[in-house]
């Protein structure tokens, strides 16, 4: 574990992998040290945002180092089923990049159980990881200026669903009508860290 400073505004905790991030996130979320206003999990880091008027970064760092990570239960979290029409513009490219057929890409995507690792990019956007490595693809060389709302996409080890129309560089494989973000829903985001996800093909 490395703890890196972000002035008096944050502490960036660098960890070995996503599982370690999840485990520390779970432990700290259950017992938030005073002065910490927010936790921002990411692929290999957990950022603690601090209230600069009350936080003591040195004490919080000690607290973090003394915290026992919590093993995150793999089975008992909420499951969200997302219906997808697999007609994305990049489906052929993804097939080429992975050495699979279009149908095999769809099967791999629907048979994998995904889990929301962390959020970011836009409200309601979740970075989903699964056990399969067959669908790992790079981002597109050129980002699109407009990715439509509901686009289901792949990049790196992740899959995700664009919660609204936005620019984006991920490989588009399909689309869903299920709203990812509704501000008047509680909680507004369908995909929150820890939620399990199954994609289901619809035609």
């Amino acid at each position: 574990m490395r703890v890196l400073p972000c002035a008096d505004l944050g502490l960036l905790v660098e960890l070995d992998d996503l599982d370690a991030v999840r485990a520390l996130h779970a432990a700290l979320a259950a017992n938030l040290p005073p002065g910490v206003t927010d936790l921002v999990p990411a692929a290999r880091t957990l950022l603690l945002r601090l209230d600069p008027r009350t936080a003591n970064p040195a004490e919080i760092e000690q607290f973090v180092r003394a915290t026992r990570p919590v093993a995150v239960g793999e089975q008992n979290s909420e499951l969200v089923r997302i219906p997808v029409v697999y007609d994305g513009e990049d489906l052929d490219d993804v097939a080429k990049l992975t050495g699979l057929t279009r149908q095999e890409v769809i099967i791999e995507h629907t048979e994998t159980e995904w889990r929301v690792a962390f959020g970011g990019f836009a409200p309601g956007f979740g970075y989903l990881t699964g056990d399969s490595t067959k669908l790992e693809v790079p981002r597109r060389k050129e980002s699109r200026t407009k990715v439509p709302v509901g686009a289901v996409a792949l990049a790196g080890a992740f899959t995700g669903v664009y919660p609204r129309e936005s620019p984006g560089g991920w490989q588009l494989i399909g689309r869903t009508d299920l709203p990812m973000w509704q501000v008047d829903r509680d909680p507004p985001a369908l995909l929150r860290p820890g939620v399990r996800v199954r994609f289901e093909e619809v035609r």
């Binding site: 400073p5 972000c6 505004l9 921002v40 880091t45 950022l47 008027r53 040195a58 970011g120 985001a189």
Partner: protein
């Protein structure tokens, strides 16, 4: 609207802001809130509000609103001419705006963002516990426009015993900001931090509530691989492929994939939020307190 004011003019950008929406980073929602948090708190204290009550953040003056009921207001932040029905009022002080009167903010002489607090607080509909407009995430109320209603809540508690707050003058040409190196200074060539701390940077006009774009010496990376996206804070000096830093402000992205060479300390982030295009920024390092 029983109590409040109606917007007549907005200038380049006027938004409702409070101290933002902490606690939602996991679903991709950033803090947002006033770009200059200290000025928003001061405005609220002057009119006897909770210091996190919602105010109007006026970017580069040009705001006018008509009181629907008798109001007590205070204007802080960027120093601008303030009038109530044409009569001059002072910055950083209590002003009474009778029903029907027009409060007007002119062009600021120094600074960029002024804050208008109204006793009782602006009570537009909150989103995820905050009334702030987050321009990057597209959350919260729309930016204000002519005809927007600004409903105001009922005051609670007494007015404070002072009705004027002394405030340091804002610099005109050059702003010094204190930074702490890191979290990713080790992703840069050794001379990058030296350049950041010794050379001036100019504020570009593409700056906004998301961040201040800077022109100046390039900050060369020593590691070329992709940085996995990680959480960021306001005040972060993130270095994109252009090699010139962007200083993140209130509506910055929750996570970023470019390394942050240094972070501006919290009280100086408020000062940075008052920097106008063309101004010079100079960065000074404060080492982390040894443990």
């Amino acid at each position: 609207m029983k109590n409040g004011m109606q917007v007549l003019e907005t200038g380049p950008l006027s938004t409702v802001q409070d101290l933002g929406r902490p606690g939602h980073a996991g679903i991709g929602v950033g803090l947002s809130g006033a770009a200059d948090r200290g000025s928003l708190r001061l405005a609220n204290r002057l009119v006897g509000n909770d210091e996190g009550a919602a105010c109007v953040e006026v970017t580069f003056g040009g705001f006018a609103a008509r009181a629907v009921t008798d109001l007590v207001v205070a204007v802080t932040g960027a120093t601008c001419p303030v009038t109530v029905d044409g009569r001059c009022g002072a910055m950083n002080s209590l002003l009474r705006v009778p029903a029907g009167a027009v409060l007007r903010l002119g062009l600021p002489a120094t600074g960029l963002r002024s804050y208008v607090a109204v006793r009782g607080g602006v009570i537009v509909e909150p989103v995820l516990g905050s009334r702030s407009t987050d321009l990057l995430a597209g959350l919260g109320p729309e930016p204000l426009s002519t005809g927007s209603d600004l409903p105001v809540g009922l005051p609670h508690g007494d007015l404070p015993p002072i009705d004027f707050a002394p405030v340091a003058c804002q610099p005109v040409e050059e702003l010094r900001l204190t930074v702490v190196p890191g979290p990713r200074q080790d992703w840069f060539a050794p001379d990058a931090l030296t350049a950041l701390l010794s050379q001036p940077y100019t504020v570009l006009s593409e700056s906004n509530r998301i961040g201040i774009r800077l022109d100046g010496p390039v900050l060369t990376r020593s590691r070329e691989e992709e940085l996995p996206s990680e959480g960021t804070v306001a005040g972060a000096l993130q270095v994109p492929p252009s090699s010139r830093p962007t200083l993140f402000l209130a509506d910055h992205p929750v996570t970023g994939g470019y390394p942050v060479i240094a972070v501006v300390v919290a009280e100086d982030v408020d000062k940075a939020a008052q920097a106008r295009p063309g101004m010079t920024l100079r960065f000074t390092a404060r080492e982390r307190v040894a443990e």
